[in-house]
């Protein structure tokens, strides 16, 4: 899960080294806390959250194949 999120996000940001992802497993649910450099926040959220929505949609596809539920939290 973590790797896929990082794969998706890395090419979108200007400072890939500042990406950090914290994974919290809660039974069926996997929470991924995504942190990026402050100047990259807009690049992962997008206008009206469009980028964030797209990222979540892809993560959901992976989760569905593994029988899990995934929540992507973008933390500032």
């Amino acid at each position: 899960m973590k790797e896929l999120l990082s794969t998706i996000v890395r090419p979108l940001v200007s400072d890939p080294d500042s990406i950090s992802i914290n994974q919290i497993d809660q039974g069926y649910t996997v929470v991924l806390e995504l942190k990026v450099a402050p100047e990259d926040m807009g690049k992962v959220i997008g206008k009206q959250g469009r980028r964030a929505q797209a990222i979540r949609s892809i993560m959901k596809a992976r989760a569905a194949l593994t029988g899990k539920r995934v929540i992507v939290d973008i933390v500032g």
């Binding site: 790797e3 794969t7 090419p11 797209a54 959901k60 029988g67």
Partner: protein, 266 residues
Amino acid sequence: MADFVEKSAKTVQQAINDALDALGVTEDEAVIEVLDEGESGGILGIGRKPARVRVSHAEVEADDSNDMLPASDYADDDSDYSEDMNADVSDDEQADESEAEPVYYGDDEYNDEPESQAESAAMDYVTDILRGIGIHGRISSYHQDGNLHIDVSGHDCGAAIGRHGETLDAIQYLTSLVANKHSEEHLRVVVDIGGYRRRREQTLINIAERAASKVNRSGKQYRLDPMNPAERRIIHSALQGFEGITTFSEGVDPDRYVVVAPAERD
């Protein structure tokens, strides 16, 4: 893995349960794709539409406790996943819609093209994402009408397409962002997986034509389901040459829809 069951029922959950029973698996062992969430209809159930789901055996073990590295996922079947970042399908190849193997060309032609950097970045991105989701496939790209097309073919691509193509649209949107970082002019990127867009386009044209003949018969306007801009465009252009019919869009995205109406006569 062609083993799947499609079921309709009043609710999504009911349809899933029916399908799981029919397949003889538990929810953990299945891949559930909601094809249509259905509509409960009004108080009297008018306009009710059944929910539809497709359930198939899960290929991946439900145990995901240790993070899967794409590399280890694919270590034993590299041969299944061929990609050629500079592959190009010639234009006349497009007319041929048969399931023939895509034609791969050498990489000598495209390396010097200005757009090749955008193209290879886009190909890498799609490849990495699909590998991460756990999809096996073959990927190719070509330019047509100034757009960059990336086609993925393979079995069990459903997960990467998603309900109403939601996942596919997400992949296409982000890929377009990545490609355009490497392109000075805006490059439109079209990602298709398992021929979904092609099939969907035909479905939309059928929907449009059916609506048009309904309007011609009744003389009343007819409202289609909400669609995204790309899908609305297909409807509009499908009915452009239709005698006695006009089309326009109403509402606000994501609930914007096309109305098929009788053309005004003068």
